[in-house]
Symmetry: C2
Subunit: 198 residues, 2 copies
DNA sequence: CGCATGTGAGACATTGATGTCTCATTATGG
DNA sequence: CCATAATGAGACATCAATGTCTCACATGCG
């Protein structure tokens, strides 16, 4: 504690600003710097002191999103146990970041001159590796590529975050909805006469 | 003056402009009116003669998206045969519009003062009704609500359109990827018929 | 208490997109 | 061939967001 400096209100909680901005931009991706500042309870000037500009803010959000994603990946221990359980843990751990990820997912198109891209690539690889492990262990079907399964997971995370935010489904169902659909699909599998062929 | 009948057929192909704009905005949702005009091969002035402003353009795209969606819904004959086959037909029919839908899906947040909203609601209802029919017929599991299945379908359509546009999966796999994941899930099931070979 | 720091409020110029206008050009149809 | 109409090019004002700046205020610290 001795190394912490106690000043005035002490350098506006950067993390709080980022999370508020994430929550706002998730709902309204075109929100103004002024709106972001008001949402965070600070002035535009102060916001601009902490983040050089809108670009820097979005970059910071991207870094936050990557960090939270990797934390979730670590916490989910993707290498341990059945792959299906690892997927379940992953979705559970990543849920709090789903909104932010959904925002970044749509905003990323703007960053063609990538740089943080390596962070996303690393995350993609770790998730794809999980699906690949599940395929090799015989748990997952092999006609759906790990790349597609990874992307589909992103899409489902975004859809679920959206529909929960809209209040059209209960927040508690978040993990169940995604995991059950992603792993089991919409079809009933215990009924007789099930046939799958196209 | 009798309104323009069939005078100079120079009349810029409105549909072509819309589809070009859709393609561009799908890739870069912040594209300028000038960029849209250039992409469509017309001048900004002409673009502005046909669409009062950016708002009007996006509205027109929304109408186009709704129309294409409803055409797909009609062509898929959702009421006929097994629900799972209807889902397959739906995805196949809706594929060409997936990019446009993905764009509108993210852009819709801006339309809080809805008006076209009724169009989307009607589409939502028709798709949700399909999933409900599948549940009642015993084909689909009942622990995943039609609302969620509908939203999940949108998410998967968007993800698939994106990953195909990125060139990370083959365009030919579009329908298969979505239908198999949405209906069957990633898990291998020990039921008859599921593709598990090589 | 006085100093330093961080903040809020607001003025200001800048930038980029937009909407509107005019005018010349081209193509169409009678 | 001529009148009409649609287009392209560009000038122009407008507007909103941004980035930068100054100044006053509050609070922590010596």
């Amino acid at each position: 504690m001795s190394h912490m400096r106690y000043c005035c209100l002490m350098a506006v909680d950067r993390d709080h600003v980022l999370r508020t901005a994430a929550a706002l931009l998730t709902r309204k991706s075109t929100a103004t710097m002024d709106e972001v500042a008001k949402a965070a309870g600070i002035s535009r000037a102060t916001l601009h002191r902490h983040f050089a500009g809108r670009d820097a803010l979005v970059r910071a959000l991207e870094s936050l999103g990557i960090a939270e994603c990797e934390s979730a990946l670590d916490a989910a221990r993707l290498d341990e146990g059945p792959a299906r359980d690892a997927v379940h843990r992953l979705v559970r751990e990543i849920e709090p970041a789903a909104g932010l990820l959904a925002f970044l997912y749509t905003e990323n198109q703007l960053f063609e001159g990538e740089q943080q891209n390596i962070g996303w690539a690393r995350i993609d690889d770790r998730i794809a590796a999980l699906f690949r492990r599940g395929q090799q262990s015989g748990e997952f079907r092999i006609d759906l590529s790990p790349v597609w399964l990874t992307e589909a997971l992103y899409g489902l995370l975004g859809s679920a975050a959206w529909v929960v935010a809209e209040g059209r489904v209960a927040r508690n169902d978040f993990t169940h909805m995604i995991v059950e659909l992603l792993l089991g699909g919409a079809l009933r599998h215990h009924t007789t006469g099930q046939r799958e062929e196209s």
